[in-house]
């Protein structure tokens, strides 16, 4: 939990400077804390913007790119960007066909994105819609699913909505597809050790030396239980069970799954988990399409992993497989 940084207050701005310098073929920072596609907005295409706190790379801003998003507003670590920054991102994404706001269901982000929508409506006559990601099954019971927070399922929603927008579908249609993708996602996380928010300088939570917390959120939000660390297969089984409980799948169904590290947990261990995920879905007669294993949505150096599943139909699968490129995920 030790960090490489200069001034904590410069963490995000220096990060973005390095980020655009390293990947100028994908990203551009037209104004502070706003990242847009290197090539700018595409005329006639619905724009897609997202935004949220820093500290989750590649989420959020990493998924700006052809076939993915058009622009992103970036907040401080784990904090919402301002409504003004979000409005700028919307303007950057606007190609004249309206803009979809596609982001995680966190109170601060929602308020600011709503405000930003009002701003660009008044000032720039840009039509906007909203789709919220709320894939974390642990964060609220099914009856209150709209209160759930958004976690790694965003990655699928970005990919699928991005592909829909690339077809030059209109705003209503892109919004429909994005909402369908969001509705088809379920995620659950588990954490083993915290991360340090630079400006706070201390761990986000504490867990005993051999403890884990099942269901913990990406900022350390409480989960379902906290207990001794279990074997990988037992952890994976519980995660799979909770997801398919919430979204039952029939034999013959197709899903994609994302086994995601929160940061420190190495690829090796994600593969140990994926091995079990595969066996479980095989056992259910469910086939896995384009599995993702890696660091797609992190909490800096947190130890732990999340499992996301998205139930696919032909339409979602087609968009998932469509070409797309950003610095972290390329589909050819």
């Amino acid at each position: 939990m030790k960090k490489i940084l200069n001034a904590p207050s410069a963490y995000v701005d220096e990060m973005l400077e390095g980020f655009t310098a390293a990947h100028p073929e994908y990203y551009r920072q037209p104004e502070p804390r706003v990242i847009a596609r290197a090539g700018g907005a595409t005329a006639g295409k619905v724009g897609i913007v997202t935004g949220g706190g820093s500290g989750h790379l590649p989420i959020f801003t990493g998924y700006v790119g052809p076939g993915f998003l058009d622009a992103c507003a970036i907040g401080d670590v784990f904090a919402s960007p301002s409504a003004e920054q979000m409005a700028s991102a919307i303007r950057q994404a606007d190609g004249g066909a309206g803009v979809l706001r596609l982001y995680g269901n966190y109170g601060g982000d929602v308020m600011n994105f709503d405000m930003a929508g009002e701003m660009v409506d008044m000032e720039n006559d840009i039509a906007t819609t909203t789709v919220l990601l709320a894939d974390d099954v642990v964060s609220a019971p099914k009856a209150e699913a709209a209160k759930r927070r958004g976690v790694a399922g965003m990655v699928y929603a970005f990919k699928i909505a991005g592909a829909a927008a690339e077809t030059k579908a209109d705003l209503a249609e892109v919004t429909r597809v994005a909402q369908k993708a969001a509705d088809a996602c379920r995620s659950i996380g588990m954490a083993l050790s915290p991360c340090v928010v630079p400006q706070a300088g201390k761990p986000t939570f504490t867990l005993g030396e051999d403890e884990m917390e099942m269901g913990m959120g990406i900022h350390g939000e409480p989960g379902i239980w906290r207990d001794k660390l279990k074997p990988a297969d037992a952890i994976t089984d519980e995660m799979v069970d909770r997801l398919v409980d919430d979204l039952p799948l029939e034999r013959g169904a197709r899903v994609s799954v994302l086994v995601n590290s929160l940061g420190a947990t190495p690829l090796e261990e994600l593969y140990i988990m994926y091995r079990r995920v595969k066996a479980r879905f095989d056992g259910m007669g469910v086939s896995i399409v384009m599995p993702l294993v890696g660091r797609y949505a992190t909490s800096m150096e947190m130890t732990g992993a999340t499992l996301t599943m998205i139930a696919l139909d032909d339409e979602l699968e087609r968009h998932l497989r469509a070409p797309a490129a950003c610095a972290y995920w390329q589909v050819a």
Binding site: A79, G108, M115, K147
Partner: protein, 203 residues
């Protein structure tokens, strides 16, 4: 605000006082927020009022309140900052075009702020948030004589904390900690009390 009306000059003085009070309360509010959320509430409130107090305020009270809204938006995008900005904006709309607002309209300004903040945050009364404080302050201000208004507001904000003791937070990050949040004050309600206290203390 002990006068029959308030103008931009009075607003400026009030902002100075609250900025001082918020500065003093910042650590307490950070800690309260840290127990249930991300621990930034003291920063949000103190930076927001410092920025507003430093702003050049136009004579039009509505436009002056708009400056306050912008100040909060500039320095904080945490929930409370966005909500306070939203509240100032709503009050600004009502006050726009006037160089003074009569004391008996203050309750209406606070009510407008409350309603806009409910719309923004999709919150309900009873969720144990700053909305409940605003609602009780509106009631407390109604019919209060100008010289009793500050006192009434502080009392209402204090009563809110007492009333919600033992109830869980049902909105915001604190919602995740039902049990713990029931035992604790809602940080946003506490912040509102400290704001009103510093306003009253200076006068």
């Amino acid at each position: 605000m002990a006068a029959d009306s308030f103008d931009t000059a009075a607003l400026g003085v009030a902002l100075q006082r609250v900025a001082q009070g918020a500065e003093a309360a910042a650590a307490e509010l950070n800690a309260a927020d840290g127990a249930l959320g991300d621990g930034d509430l003291g920063i949000t409130v103190s930076r927001g009022f410092a920025e507003a107090a430093a702003a050049a305020l136009p004579e039009d009270v509505g436009l002056a309140l708009l400056e306050c809204a912008k100040a909060f938006q500039r320095v904080s995008s945490s929930s409370y900052g966005t909500l306070v900005a939203t509240g100032f904006m709503a009050a600004a709309k009502l006050a726009k075009g006037r160089s003074a607002v009569p004391a008996d309209e203050v309750a209406a300004l606070v009510a407008a702020a409350r309603d806009a903040m409910m719309a923004r945050g999709k919150g309900a009364l009873g969720d144990k948030t700053v909305l409940d404080s605003l609602d009780r302050v509106v009631e407390g201000l109604k019919g209060a004589a100008p010289e009793r208004m500050q006192e009434a507001a502080v009392a209402a904000a204090r009563d809110t904390l007492v009333a919600f003791k033992g109830q869980p937070c049902r909105l915001g990050r604190a919602r995740m900690f039902a049990e713990k949040s029931a035992a604790l004050d809602d940080p946003g309600q506490l912040a509102f009390l400290r704001i009103l206290e510093s306003l009253a203390a200076g006068s």
